[in-house]
């Protein structure tokens, strides 16, 4: 194994480790096989595991996820790819009404151990229909676990946990992180779903971020340190289970909260986190709670416009500075 691995390679590696371990793990999706995936996140799988276990499908998002569901109900552990997370809208019935509900509505008779992987997020000039951070869509639906790793090691560890989970997991791979690098984790590395990571300790303010917003928050924290503002940065890693305990624990120390979210402000995941804090952590707060989230507009194409919409290091910095002077 190389000393460094990209996030992109980590996806294929994470899947391959599970496919080697368990013959019930199978993949399906558009262009994932011979072509190795549009984002090259499934390179090598088709060759190693063959076309029956790595299935190139037509452009049929409903059939892809619906078939994954049927396979999961009958003894397999499918990993379905939806190429861009925006296209989850094309099979939303499965994510909203079928997969998360079938266990409950049958009184526990049916188990759906599947993973829906998808390339998420903006910042690449792909425009309004190929750039959204849609983990908050999934967050409106009880019954889905939601993973969104920020590092190659977490990609592998959380993929292992997702595939082994008997519950359905929606797995968001961030397009903006695909080229980032990290140390490859040891064999059988598993990162339990629902455990946030404190990726920078600090005393003055808690920044809570997810996926591509983690490096944004970290960079902002480094810059703020020069102004003697000591930010703690939490990488949530999952939205469900949501690790509110770690966040509340951090606030006991810092008394100030800023969420950093790529999704639009309206309906964003940070809102739910803030509402937990404004209830159970109200006594801990010394200042207003702030959400740095995307503007409530579709994603524009031009770089110069896109960066007006999505949170940037500058915006996080300004927000924190403002808050710590409250």
């Amino acid at each position: 194994m190389a000393d460094v691995i990209t996030y992109r390679e980590a996806v294929a590696e994470g899947i391959a480790r599970e496919m080697r371990r368990d013959p019930a793990v199978v993949c399906l999706g558009e262009d994932i096989g011979a072509a190795g995936g549009v984002f090259k996140t499934t390179v090598g799988l088709h060759k190693e595991f063959g076309p029956e276990r790595v299935w190139d499908t037509p452009i049929s998002e409903q059939a892809i996820v619906g078939a994954a569901m049927g396979a999961a109900m009958t003894g397999m552990r499918p990993i379905a790819e939806i190429m861009f997370s925006d296209f989850l809208a094309c099979c939303w019935d499965y994510l909203a009404n079928e997969i998360p509900k079938v266990r409950y509505m049958t009184g526990g008779q049916v188990t759906v151990p599947l993973v829906v992987r998808t390339a998420n997020g903006g910042g690449l000039g792909f425009g309004a229909q190929h750039s959204q951070a849609t983990e908050n869509w999934a967050f409106t639906v009880p019954g889905l676990k939601i993973a969104a790793p920020a590092t190659p090691a977490d990609v592998i560890g959380m993929m292992a946990a997702a595939v082994r989970s008997d519950d359905p997991v929606v797995f968001f791979e961030h397009k903006g992180l695909l080229a980032t690098k990290g140390v490859p984790p040891p064999p059988d590395h598993v990162v339990e779903l629902g455990r946030a990571a404190v990726v920078r300790e600090g005393a003055d303010v808690t920044l809570v971020a997810l996926a591509s917003m983690v490096p944004v928050a970290l960079t902002a924290a480094e810059r703020l340190a020069e102004e003697h503002i000591d930010a703690e940065v939490i990488d949530l890693r999952c939205l469900v289970p949501l690790d509110t305990r770690t966040v509340l624990g951090s606030l006991a120390k810092t008394s100030r909260l800023v969420t950093v979210e790529e999704n639009p402000y309206q309906g964003g995941w940070g809102a739910t986190l803030v509402s937990v804090v404004a209830d159970e952590g109200f006594g801990l707060l010394d200042a207003p709670v702030r959400r740095v989230a995307a503007a409530c507009v579709p994603l524009p194409f031009a770089d110069a416009l896109e960066e007006q919409v999505i949170p940037t290091v500058d915006k996080v910095e300004a927000s924190v500075r403002d808050l710590t002077s409250y």
Binding site: W55, Q62, G66, G70, A71, T106, G108, P113, S165, L242
Partner: protein, 326 residues
């Protein structure tokens, strides 16, 4: 061909379904069944004929109009009626209701209330069966109305491309809710006429003749099991009740209703029994056995306990719980 004893057994099954649904209707009218029901009275021969042609471990997926399929695949009248009456002893612990009857222990993998959603699931179950080499097939039963929804198209294409062992059985009862299927469908036979678009066989059968249904399903199931791929069967039938609840179905011409009531699947089977030399009393005795079974089921369901309110917060996750946060 079905022999007399076999046919008598099928007749008794149909009689049992007919009476269970009649009980469901009466219980709904008297307020003991809440929510909604969609009765399949008149369509029993499809469930019973198909079931007789399948292996016990084949997978069945049905719609909200699925009492007949649950019962034909081994659910008892008591567990079905208890479910409808919101009892703890219901098939789905009173969490599913009439629209979601499921008997996973006999691979009747559920009743789905979003039109067309279960067709891709059946495709996935068939894929899974092939991957596991079990020789099982999957069957999706659906209404005529489902032939115009996108999931139908995606499922049929995917199944055909991969030659999966799946049967698509359309129960064409001429109506969607209140609108005739002919008013909103571009072809005369909404299912069978679409089969060529997927390069698969499309057959039409008298869905009120249990013997013809059994024969057709046997043939197509053999084909699927032999690796020759999916097929589409359109079973022509008619529902005796309205679409749901107390719908009087006054949108149907009296002459049409009359004509179909004369072609009742129970009568058709009785006629066949007579042809096979079975005395009329044998069928009457079967009716009586079915009647008393259902009568006991109604009593037992009435006397069963209500669900424990705490059950509302179980069965979301495979660990039995519903926790979405730490």
């Amino acid at each position: 061909m079905t022999n007399a004893a076999q046919l008598l057994a099928l007749y008794e099954q149909m009689a049992m379904i007919r009476r269970t649904e009649k009980a469901a209707h009466d219980l709904f009218m008297s307020g003991l069944v809440k929510g909604t029901t969609h009765l399949a009275s008149g369509q029993e021969a499809i469930a019973v004929g198909a079931s007789a042609a399948l292996r016990d471990d084949d997978y069945v997926f049905a719609t909200y109009r699925g009492h007949h399929h649950a019962l034909a695949r081994g659910a008892t009248p008591e567990e079905c009626l208890a479910e409808l009456m919101s009892r703890a002893t219901g098939l789905c612990k009173a969490k599913g209701g009439s629209m979601h009857l499921t008997k996973a222990s006999s691979n009747m993998l559920g009743s789905y209330a979003i039109v067309g959603a279960h067709l891709p699931m059946a495709v996935g179950a068939a894929w899974s069966a092939r991957l596991r080499g079990t020789g099982q097939i999957a069957v999706a039963f659906f209404g005529d109305g489902a032939t115009n929804i996108g999931a139908f198209h995606e499922a049929l294409n995917l199944a055909a491309v991969w030659k999966l062992p799946v049967l698509f059985v359309c129960e064409n009862n001429l109506y969607m809710e209140y609108t005739p299927i002919a008013d909103v469908t571009a072809v005369a036979n909404p299912a069978a006429d679409r089969a060529p678009a997927y390069g698969i066989p499309g057959e039409i059968v008298d869905g009120n003749d249990v013997v013809l249904v059994q024969e057709a399903v046997s043939r197509l199931a053999d084909r699927a099991r032999a690796g020759d791929g999916p097929s589409l069967l359109e079973a022509q039938t008619y529902r005796h009740f309205g679409h749901s609840r107390a719908d009087p179905a006054s949108y149907r011409p009296a002459e049409e209703v009359e004509r179909w009531l004369k072609h009742d699947p129970l009568d058709v089977a009785r006629g066949r029994l007579a042809e096979l030399g079975v005395p009329a009393e044998a069928a009457t005795e079967a009716d009586e056995r079915a009647g008393s079974l259902v009568q006991q089921a109604v009593e037992a369901a009435k006397n069963a306990p209500a669900p424990d309110p705490r059950e509302a917060l179980t069965d979301v996750w495979a660990d039995g719980g519903a926790a979405w946060r730490t």
